[in-house]
């Protein structure tokens, strides 16, 4: 238990020391998306009978919490290849569970921070959305799934260049295609099916339904819960691969 606390507290301290810079950097891309797509393109657009901006905000939250959750991999790589702190964890009497859970929650915490930044920015525009418990459950599960994948990929990859490849080919497409910026339902059947398989599609669906005040989509919730478990075990089983 203390082992988990140590790993998580270290991530929290890193966030704490960088907080101003971090908040600034978390606000850049969401602001750009909101200006470009929301205010620029979407002024006269409606989706699901609502202004496009109201469709967009939950999508940006889903995209951002996914990216920041997955972004824990960058921290782990820095700790592993540059600071070599990873050896400090390996030489400590802690279990792989403790390590993995600490890092995943580090990613989740970043995702929550970025979400709060977006919500603060959106406050400036008058929009009609609810940010209740289910909204945050959606953010949590989305971040948890992608932070697990971030931890797993950081354990498996061997260099920083490989990591950039993973991010470019897997994460970036999901940011745009997973029901974040446009509704998946509008696409032809052949495109819709694969997109429905993406975890972020379910996350944006859950987060958006909660923000609209609609009933919770049970299926998407179950998918995310299942993926959280799968992701966690994936991360857990990959820790020993980082050892030589």
């Amino acid at each position: 238990m203390r082992g988990f606390l140590a790993v998580y507290l270290r991530e929290l301290l890193i966030i704490w020391h960088r907080l101003p810079r971090m908040i600034l950097s978390f606000s850049v891309s969401p602001t750009l998306y909101l200006i470009a797509f929301g205010f620029g393109l979407g002024k006269h657009l409606t989706v699901h009978g609502r202004p496009y901006l109201e469709f967009l905000v939950p999508g940006v939250v889903a995209a951002s919490s996914m990216m920041q959750g997955f972004g824990i991999n960058v921290e782990i790589n820095v700790a592993r290849f540059y600071l070599r702190i990873f050896e400090e964890f390996q030489a400590a009497p802690i279990s792989n569970w403790a390590y993995v859970l600490g890092e995943i929650l580090g990613g989740v915490t970043r995702a929550f921070l970025s979400t709060l930044v977006i919500l603060a920015i959106t406050m400036l525009a008058r929009i009609n959305l609810h940010f209740g418990p289910w909204f945050f459950v959606g953010v949590f599960l989305n971040a948890f799934v992608f932070a697990s994948l971030g931890v797993a990929s950081a354990m498996i990859i061997r260099s920083h260049a490989d990591q950039a490849l993973v991010t470019n080919f897997i994460i970036t497409p999901m940011v745009f295609l997973g029901g974040t910026f446009f509704p998946v339902e509008g696409l032809p059947e052949w495109a819709r099916l694969p997109l429905k398989l993406l975890p972020v599609t379910h996350a944006s669906h859950l987060i958006r339904s909660a923000a609209y005040g609609d009933p919770v989509p049970r299926f998407s919730l179950l998918v995310l819960l299942g993926l959280s478990l799968v992701g966690f075990f994936l991360a857990y089983s990959s820790v020993d691969r980082a050892r030589d």
């Binding site: 890193i14 400090e88 400590a92 009497p93």
Partner: protein
């Protein structure tokens, strides 16, 4: 005195490269034991296996009679590791680095506070406790690295080339610190490629060369195998050294050589001579 570390037939292969070929040694409790060898000899590999960072290919290791491969958590609690490459959290403060380490080793907050305060004073870092590690000098970082490894009161401390790349006066200060740690009852395994470090610090030294231990004894005994005095002779062929049982014999030979026009120096046999003798090459 009981045996703190026992290593038997330790072997490590990295693919086709054999980094360690069945090395064996044991360290008594409270002893300072040095592994001396050139780069690539296998020093870091040995320490990484003993601290659970790398898996051994074959062999057995016991700490206080318990197998570290069968009981890795026990072994990790017994061991403190000062790795070759400084691995501190540069963005965190000195205090935070110690605090995280304490938590990792299951210490309570109260114990962490007391122990960190004691060690910070011991290492002369108390005034810097709230500063980020990034702002510390190289010597301070090394001291912090060492006291971090001591936080959880390990009974065996592993120091992998602890003074590499430091200024001579900072190196001497660290030597003092290491001696003090030993005097408090900690068993120490130190690796180095600095002869004088091993000679100054170690109770016993093992010469490690290409993954094999070629000699193991006290520095005095290792040097005594060559004799007491050495004569360096510089000629067209370069530098050659000859060893003599006593100083008198060395002086007689030096006299004879200098009469025939050679340039000679008499000196005490040092550990480097012994290393050269056993391995056939320089560290």
């Amino acid at each position: 005195m009981s045996e703190a570390v026992r290593v038997e037939g330790l072997t490590k292969d990295y693919g086709r490269l054999r980094a360690l070929s069945g090395i064996s040694f044991s360290i008594r409790e409270g002893e300072l034991f040095a592994l001396l060898g050139p780069n690539g000899a296998g020093k870091t590999t040995t320490i990484r296996i003993l601290t659970g960072l790398t898996r051994a290919t074959a062999g057995r290791v016991h700490f206080f009679g318990r197998s570290i491969f069968e009981d890795p958590l026990y072994a990790k609690r017994m061991a403190g590791l000062v790795p070759q490459a400084t691995n501190l959290d540069l963005e965190l403060t000195v205090w935070e680095n110690l605090f995280i380490h304490g938590l990792l080793f299951g210490m309570s907050r109260g114990r962490i506070r007391d122990r960190a305060a004691e060690l910070l004073r011991f290492a002369g870092l108390w005034e810097r406790r709230r500063d980020r590690v990034r702002t510390l000098s190289g010597g301070m970082r090394r001291r912090l690295l060492i006291i971090r490894a001591l936080m959880h009161e390990p009974r065996i401390l592993f120091l992998d080339e602890p003074t590499v790349g430091l200024d001579p006066h900072i190196r001497r200060r660290l030597w003092g610190l290491i001696k003090q740690i030993q005097a408090r009852g900690t068993t120490i395994l130190l690796t180095t490629h600095y002869i004088e470090e091993a000679e100054f610090l170690a109770d016993r030294v093992a010469f490690l060369d290409r993954g094999r231990i070629v000699a193991l004894d006290t520095p005095q005994s290792l040097m005594a195998t060559l004799g007491e005095a050495a004569v360096d002779v510089v000629s067209e062929k370069g530098l050659t050294t000859r060893y003599f049982r006593t100083r008198e014999e060395a002086e007689r030979e030096a006299m004879r050589l200098s009469r025939s026009g050679e340039s000679v120096t008499i000196r005490r046999v040092n550990l480097e001579d012994a290393f050269l003798h056993f391995t056939g090459r320089k560290v």
